[in-house]
Amino acid sequence: MPKKTVYKATIEHIQILDEDGKLDASLAKNTLTDEEVAFLFEQMVIWRHLDEVAFKLQRSGRMGTYPQNKGQEAAALGSGFAAKKGTDFLVPCYRENAALFLHGLAPHMILLHWMGDERGNQIPDNVNCTPISIPIGTQMLHATGIAWAYKIRKEPRCVVTYFGDGATSEGDFHEAMNFASTLEVPCVFFCQNNQWAISVPREVQMASETVAQKALAYGMPGVQVDGNDMFAVFKATRDALDRARKGGGPTFIEAVTYRLADHTTADDAKRYRDVKEVEAWTKKDPIIRHRKFLESKGLWSDKKHAEVEAKAKKIVDEIIKTAEGIEKPSPADIFNFTFAEIPEQLRIQRDTMRTNSLGQDPSQTGLKPEHAHTR
């Protein structure tokens, strides 16, 4: 038998709006209308402001560790906008806040989470998402399971799950990809390749040239897009969702973007990455190019920008007031959500959490009466 090639593949990269705000009109066809871009850009400005204020809250001791989303808003907004609000379901990590807000999550809940309050994860019934996921690379399996349920029940719904470049090193990622493709579930795997996993750059994290090509090993279509370009992100996600909804199975999207801030407020990226690299990517900031685009269309101006910034300030002030106005939870809440029904021994722990160290029955001989009240 002569040698032959049994598999060959290429990975496409899609960019529609370049860093100078120039649009590829033919690729842009049937993507976002000018009005939609203006709406999404306004969102970008508002949520960028929230992100910056959240950073300051941490610095002034009003919030715990916070991972900034700065620079990755186009990836979140373009993909989130492609998913059908109220129908599709988002399974996020922690760098796509804007997508969750588009789908109706109250923004103060994200702050509440990082303020060390589980109520930030208490997603209302009418919002289709799971909360922020802390263990890296795990949530894509849940997304696959949710999509599987939709398939079993023949519901025309899809799931979009978000994760980072680093997350694709975890075993669970590969298991999710394999389950999703073999079961042909309606799930979009949206990888925000922001070039870094804390201090580990993409080329140390993986030897593959693109993240997207990992999909090919699972027989799943994989595409790379400019993640700072809402047109490309929207198009790739919408196409993937259209196919998934028609029973075409999952898609992997690699959004090439950049973490403009430190990993979290607990990190200092100057220790491990070149400021020149950050400067180069700052020029590719999605805010710059989408504004240029809108200006070229006569849909944006300095005056309009100032108005939106003032609006952002008002909205964000309100969000912070809401988050900070929420009273400290009751200590009993530590216990009350462990099970549907609290087991007796846990109920005793709850009801005596401040008084009972003994854990003994006071009727035991030997316990002095003055201590009997401790039960």
Partner: protein, 324 residues
């Protein structure tokens, strides 16, 4: 003698052992250029190079699984798992392989590795950055489980662990990382695995604890009346446990309170109470008491101090135990 905090003492132990033994390699997420998220491995990559201080892919099962292979092949891996909450993906490799190889092969293949893991709450961290899973691994035969609470002990115990022929989990209480400094000898010394430390001698009651709660217990002792004489034991090694030090003390005092951050049910307090009951039954003046975390998920940080055994709860337990 120079004064070091816990982070610096562990860093020094790693550097000295890498210098002394070229089989030692450090690996994990962000341990290289960044020096670890707590800076425990700071400067090691610059000193020993990227072959021996390795930024791995983000995969805990991979980190522990390949460490097992490195150990099999004659290296002395010292992997880091970034936070105890992320031991999850590594559980299979730790418990089903590292812990079992000696038994499985009747001693033909052994796994000398030391897994370093920051542990415990009290630092305002997000979810899965504040847990205390020491009992889980103590319940997994074949693993040694260590948790020093002071810079001196940390250096000596880490050196002992790296030189130990069996897999060790070396838990580092985050709350203590930078909380204080003490004198740490620059030279080589070991603090043997399996030896508890009597932090302060006393006659009335024994308090057994380990990790960050050693300092909560010390704070509690300050709040007790002067005529209450507490013997405070820092367990240091969770498994194998120094039952002699505990039982000797309880035979003397007749009373004991165990304090730990981990949940109560099937926590190490249950084991310690049983050991005491088995070995000191006729000496006991009161039931052994536990001040522990609750049988719940570790709460997010707004409520973490309600969960952790802070000194008021410890004081109360000691008083009740004494009054019994």
């Amino acid at each position: 003698m120079p004064e070091l905090n816990l982070v610096q003492a562990i860093n020094q132990a790693l550097a000295q052992e890498m210098e002394r033994d070229e089989r030692v390699v450090v690996l994990g997420e962000d341990v290289g250029l960044n020096g670890g998220v707590f800076r425990v491995t700071e400067g090691l990559q610059a000193k020993f190079g990227r072959e021996r201080v390795v930024d791995t892919p983000l995969a805990e099962s991979g980190i522990i699984g390949t460490s097992i292979g490195l150990a099999m092949a004659g290296m002395r891996p010292v992997p880091e798992i970034q936070f105890e909450g992320f031991l999850g993906p590594a559980y299979d490799q730790l418990v089903n392989h590292a812990a079992r190889f000696r038994t499985r092969t009747r001693g033909a293949i052994t796994i000398p590795m030391t897994v370093r893991v920051p542990v415990g709450g009290g630092i305002h961290a997000p979810e899965l950055h504040s847990d205390s899973p020491e009992a889980i691994y103590s319940h997994s035969p074949g693993l040694k489980v260590l948790m020093p609470s002071t810079p001196y002990d940390a250096k000596g115990m880490l050196l002992a662990a790296i030189r130990d022929p069996d897999p060790c989990i070396f838990f580092e209480p985050k709350r203590v990382y930078r909380s204080f400094k003490e004198e740490v000898p620059e030279g080589d010394y070991e603090v043997p695995i399996g030896q508890a430390k009597v932090v302060s001698e006393g006659d009335d009651i024994t308090v057994v604890t380990w990790g960050a709660t050693v300092f909560q217990c010390l704070a509690a002792m300050d709040e007790l009346p002067d005529d209450v004489s507490v013997e405070l034991i820092d367990l240091r090694t969770i498994y194998p446990m120094d039952t002699d030090t505990i039982t000797e003390s309880v035979r003397k005092t007749g009373r004991c309170v165990v304090v730990h951050e981990a949940p109560r049910t099937a926590g190490m307090g249950a084991e310690i109470a049983t050991v005491i009951q088995e070995a000191c039954f006729l000496h006991l003046e009161a039931p052994v008491q536990r001040v522990t975390g609750f049988d719940t998920v570790m709460p997010y940080y707004k409520l973490e101090l309600e969960y952790l055994p802070e000194s008021p709860r410890i004081v109360q337990a000691v008083r009740e135990c004494l009054a019994y």
